[in-house]
């Protein structure tokens, strides 16, 4: 890849992820985070909350599986025994007082896992996922301008229940269709292991549930990480621009312990820029030009090379005699230094 191209891509795409994670310019009203047991979304959600705190965004967590209000969350909405309509009402209610005092604030609404809602037996057939999600983003108070961004986590490994209506699209396809950006999370060590296998033309390894080993839910093991350098999570981002153009990029989010919570500069890097993922090749190329040092003269002078090219090799001669049965004969002119032994070398 041409270096100019890469630096261009780097600038653009890093700006994009920065905008998305920091919720600037409402770049993505609905972000879908696809995670799995191998790489849970918790670190990414933490990062969202951290950035929201830095830019004073109001954070609401709609908790389907979180037990206690995490740090940095302004409003915690428990969903136990609540109908979707109740949830919508409560989410808008917790923002009212804030909205009244400060009409133009931005807010971030996190849903920690949408799966329980989709799998619920209680939710009646009238439940409509698009309008449920839409009601969070759409301004509830026409007077106050609220830029709401919704981040929805979906656990990919939880099986979908059979559809009540076999003809309607599955919830996950609805979600991916609606979302303006889709973030798929991968464990960095797994990405490295899979890349290493692909580089050797081997089948990439699978981990955890995909191993289909009885009794194994999680495959992540520290030992795989090894030196500890391969920390962080890989973000596969698919973003739909307002223009309709799509962007696909892979990023690396370092672990939270690597930077202070107040850190302002962008910490996400392109995966391609990572030393472990893309080991630098340049040094090897330079090394190729140098000759190995030795006490022997391994090169040829021009004259030696010319003479070597002039040598006619025996089998060229052999091909001229095209008599039958003679093709394989070795023609050889005895030199005086040859010591001919009649008994041994009789042809």
């Amino acid at each position: 890849m041409a270096p100019i191209n890469l630096s261009h891509r780097r600038t653009h795409n890093l700006l994009l992820i920065s905008k998305l994670l920091s919720l600037r310019d409402t770049a993505s009203p609905l972000t879908l985070v696809l995670d799995s047991l191998e790489q849970p979304a918790t670190p990414l959600l933490k990062e969202y909350i951290r950035r929201a705190k830095l830019s004073k965004v109001h954070v609401t967590l709609i908790a389907f599986e979180t037990l206690k209000q995490p740090d940095g969350v302004d409003a915690f909405v428990s969903t136990r025994r609540k109908s979707p309509a109740d949830i919508v009402k409560e989410v808008s209610a917790v923002y009212q007082p804030v909205a009244a005092s400060n009409p133009s604030r931005r807010r971030l609404i996190l849903i920690d896992s949408i799966n329980p809602l989709l799998n619920s037996k209680r939710v009646d057939t009238g439940f409509h996922l698009p309008s449920f999600l839409g009601s969070f983003i759409a301004p509830t108070l026409p007077s106050a301008k609220v830029d709401a961004s919704l981040v929805v986590t979906y656990h990919q490994d939880i099986p979908e229940l059979p559809q009540q209506s076999p003809y309607s699209p599955t919830p996950i396809s609805e979600l991916t269709y609606l979302a303006t950006s889709i973030i798929t999370l991968h464990s960095f060590s797994h990405v490295l292991a899979q890349k290493a296998a692909r580089d050797r033309s081997l089948a990439p390894p699978v981990f955890g549930l995909e191993e289909e080993q009885e009794g194994v839910l999680l495959g992540r093991l520290d030992r795989l990480v090894g030196t500890g350098k391969a920390e962080g999570i890989v973000i596969e981002l698919e973003h739909r621009r307002k223009s309709g153009r799509g962007v696909l990029e892979w990023y690396l989010l370092p672990p939270a312990s690597r930077y202070s919570p107040q850190h302002l500069k962008e910490i996400v890097t392109l995966l391609d820029d990572n030393v472990l993922y893309n080991p630098p090749m340049e040094r090897d190329l330079v090394a190729g030009d140098e000759e190995p040092t030795s006490t022997f003269e391994l090169g040829l002078t021009d004259r030696q090379r010319r003479e070597r090219e002039g040598v006619v090799l025996p089998y060229f001669d052999a091909q001229h005699n095209d008599g039958p049965g003679e093709g394989g004969r070795i023609l050889y002119d005895m030199g005086e230094e040859d010591d001919f032994d009649e008994e041994e070398d009789e042809i």
Partner: protein, 347 residues
């Protein structure tokens, strides 16, 4: 007493000092059951501090007293009492001291026997005994060894003769009954369990911690299922509700291949029992702080290895605040109930 320390040092950090509102999963399969590990949790929480406890567990005993509420859907109180005794835990005494409460989810969960107070032969004290003329004893001839006479002795038997209350049985705080269908029946169970928890809490001082262990709540889902209005979402909400009463929660769940992998592989052909089970277990693993997975040896059974224990971080672990070392070890249950835990290649 087992020749091994009741709590292997390798295991101690994982079963003791569970942080506040944490969820720990213990997963088991047909050939690698989890009871021994549950007993280790009991031991870590309940064993009285003594100078020669396994190192790693002695510093946790300072100050905070721990209480345990054990809800068992698969095994009787008798089993837990006998097995705990092998580790040096006297559950009956601990129950008297209000440190331990057992909730019986086996005996009368789905089918409560008719009140049979009229027949004299149903007194449980008479089980398996031959007709006798001596004084009634708690431990009749032919009872399993280890069932030593209860401290309550004859008085209890006398009381039970005309008592219809099911709570009269020593050691069992409550027997669960499932009735009706859907959320209402789950609510009733929740109320029963939480009332026992609250009762335990009433004698708690500041800083005391209550550990809730639910042994195989997945049975409840399997034996009811969507046709009775109970699905994975309802079950996990039920667990969330119980979690809120306790300091830390431990669940044991089955992760046999048909129950986990059928849902994802057979493409919509999975039966509801499989889909719901997988959704419950994987969903809980996303919420758990740690997942302790038990399985049999991949290479087949061995004489000196009972199975493999893999401890993984769950999706709910707060990575930025605490670290949990992932680990895989072999374990061996000795005949005396002791457990050896060792790495591969060690012994």
């Amino acid at each position: 007493m087992p020749s091994q320390p009741p709590l292997p040092p390798l295991l101690a950090p994982y079963v003791s000092n569970l942080p506040d509102s944490s969820l720990t999963l213990v997963s088991s399969i047909l050939g690698a059951t989890s009871n021994w590990l549950v007993l280790r949790f009991l031991h870590a929480a309940l064993s009285s501090p003594s100078p020669n406890v396994a190192f790693g567990s002695d510093e946790l005993q300072n100050g905070t007293k721990k209480k345990v509420v054990l809800v068992s859907f698969m095994r009787s109180y008798e089993f837990w009492r006998t097995e705990a005794k092998r580790l040096g835990l006297d559950l009956a005494r601990l129950a008297d001291k209000q440190q331990f409460a057992f909730i019986d989810g086996l005996s009368e969960l789905f089918y409560a026997p008719q009140p049979t107070a009229t027949s004299p032969s149903i007194s449980p004290a008479g089980l398996g005994s031959s007709p006798r003329t001596t004084l009634p004893m708690r431990s009749p001839p032919g009872v399993v060894p280890g069932r030593s006479p209860q401290p309550a002795g004859p008085t209890v038997t006398g009381v039970r003769g005309n008592a219809t209350s099911k709570q009269a049985e020593p050691g069992i705080a409550k027997k669960l009954h499932f009735s009706g269908r859907g959320l209402a029946s789950l609510d009733a169970l929740e109320k029963d369990i939480s009332s026992v928890i609250e009762q335990q809490k009433s004698s708690m001082e500041d800083g005391d911690e209550l550990l809730l262990i639910i042994d195989q709540p997945d049975l409840l889902l399997a034996a009811t299922g969507p046709s009775m209005g109970i699905g994975a979402t309802e079950m996990s909400e039920w667990i969330t509700a119980l979690q809120q009463h306790a300091h830390a929660t431990v669940l044991t769940l089955a992760t046999d291949a048909p129950l986990i992998h059928n849902a994802s592989t057979s493409g919509g052909l999975a039966t509801p029992i499989e889909t719901e089970h997988a959704a419950l277990v994987i969903g809980l693993a996303h919420r758990a702080r740690s997942v302790m997975q038990l399985r049999t040896l991949d290479t087949g059974a061995a004489k000196d290895v009972s199975g493999v224990l893999r401890i993984s971080r769950g999706g709910g672990l707060n990575v930025s605040e605490e670290s949990l070392e992932e680990r895989e070890a072999l374990y061996f249950i000795q005949r005396d109930g002791g457990v050896k835990l060792f790495g591969r290649g060690e012994s």
